[in-house]
């Protein structure tokens, strides 16, 4: 149709990758701000009632209050993040608890192969355990030295920097271990079940 139309002089609000090109996955462009993506209103959860739960295929479910969660060993990490809407942001600074640390508190059923993250506001996303363990995934509650802002997923969000950012579920409240990798909110409507930006796994069948 109008595939070949070009708007004279339009380049878009994008940054040049410069010397950082090797860090930008295919089809992505750099941004310096931190765009807010939203599929619904921002939930506001009272920290006094906030809990984080691991259940499903575990011997005994475990749940932390906000205060208990703050006592778990934390890690600082600096990662590049890539959103499927095509922006990449380099060197984002986070503080949070690794999924490995959380899993030290439960005994996984050998049938567990994947997890579903559930969130305030009803969002869900799925992860293979092989993408969640070994320092690859965190529940973060500080960004850039400050408490994580509500529009960016505060009080706490999942951060899985090696996959497209929709996997890094905002307002995360729990992980459920399951025996089958079943699609979450976006994965069930055309988005890739895994979402590796380096393989450009944007949509189902990519």
């Amino acid at each position: 149709m109008s595939q070949k139309f070009v708007s004279r002089g339009f380049t878009g609000k994008r940054e040049r990758a410069g010397g950082q090109g090797a860090r930008v996955p295919p089809g992505q462009h750099l941004v310096s701000d931190f765009p807010v993506l939203s599929a619904g209103p921002t939930p506001r959860t009272d920290l006094a009632r906030w809990t984080f739960t691991i259940d499903g295929l575990v011997t005994a479910p475990v749940s932390w209050s906000w205060a208990d969660f703050q006592h778990l060993p934390v890690q600082d990490f600096v990662k590049d993040i890539s959103c499927v809407t095509k922006w990449t942001k380099l060197d984002t600074r986070w503080r949070g608890v690794s999924v490995d640390t959380l899993f030290e508190h439960v005994e996984l059923d050998p049938r567990a192969v994947a997890l579903i993250a559930s969130c305030d506001g009803g969002y869900t996303t799925n992860l293979l355990l092989s993408d969640a363990l070994n320092g690859q995934a965190f529940v973060a509650y500080e960004y850039d030295g400050k408490p994580l802002a509500p529009e960016h997923g505060g009080p706490a969000r999942l951060v899985v920097p090696h996959l497209y950012f929709w996997k890094s579920a905002k307002w995360v409240r729990g992980l459920r271990l399951v025996n089958k990798d079943a699609p979450g909110f976006w994965e069930s409507l055309g988005y890739h079940i895994r979402g590796d930006p380096w393989k450009e796994q944007r949509y189902t069948d990519d």
Binding site: M1, S2, F5, V6, S7, R8, G9, F10, T11, G12, K13, R14, H29, K86
Partner: protein
């Protein structure tokens, strides 16, 4: 039957400065179809490498002007599309658009009234199309516009609104939220329920309301009007999205 909705290449016929931050762009459309006042076009920009950005812009002109439409665009300093439309686009350029779309936020002379219009900033654009259509169609439906701007200099279509208001049955009320000239007798605060009660009161609770502008203004106004007794389904809203202010 209307044609299927397709992207078409419009040509910029004229660009007029409305205020320091606002321009009106006149587009000539090869596939023009008469719109209904309040509808919008989608504008899509494409970079040489295929990157695209798409936004919606309300039609400012009345449907009584065939072959072309006016879009009135406020420049959002750190935005992506509006700075392009302001700083790069010149007469003769081609712009990809589709429309007119959006039958929900529409007023036609046959829709009746009384008509209550509430605008913030560039939110006046689709309401202006309604007022221009009202005048062009010779409709006598009583109408009131409450229009919130930062300063007098930021009021879009000021002279034309004055001219329209001197005719049958239209009254225009301004509120200036960031600064008022000496001797200003209009409102000087953000739109609130007492202001809405004063402006809408004479129209009664049977009024048909159209509210357009920044989300905060739209939400405050819509809930206040429902509290003042207007029926929910006669209170129509059009949120313009982030304005960076």
């Amino acid at each position: 039957m209307r044609r299927p909705l397709e992207w078409q290449i419009a040509t910029v016929k004229a660009i007029a400065q409305e205020t320091a931050q606002v321009k009106t762009i006149t587009l000539v459309l090869p596939g023009w179809t008469a719109h209904r006042a309040g509808q919008h076009y989608d504008v899509r920009l494409t970079a040489a490498d295929g990157y695209q950005a798409q936004r919606s812009y309300s039609i400012a002109s009345p449907p009584e002007r065939p072959g072309e439409v006016d879009l009135t665009v406020e420049r959002i300093p750190d935005g992506e599309v509006s700075p392009y439309l302001h700083d790069v686009l010149v007469v003769g350029d081609a712009v990809e658009v589709r429309g007119p779309v959006g039958g929900y936020f529409v007023w036609e002379a046959s829709s009746g009234g009384p008509l209550l219009l509430v605008a913030g900033g560039s939110g006046v654009v689709p309401l202006m199309a309604m007022l221009r259509h009202r005048a062009a169609a010779g409709a006598k439906v009583p109408a009131r516009l409450l229009y919130s701007s930062r300063t007098l200099e930021d009021v879009i279509y000021r002279q034309e609104l004055e001219a329209l208001a001197s005719r049958d049955g239209l009254e225009v009320f301004h509120t200036l939220t960031r600064g008022q000239p000496k001797g200003w007798t209009g409102y000087a605060r953000r739109i609130d329920q007492p202001m809405l009660a004063e402006v809408s009161g004479p129209l009664g609770t049977a009024a048909l309301a159209f509210i357009c502008g920044p989300t905060a203004l739209v939400e405050t106004t819509a809930s206040a009007l429902v509290q003042l007794g207007l029926a929910q389904e006669r209170v129509r809203t059009e949120r313009f999205g982030p304005t960076g202010t």
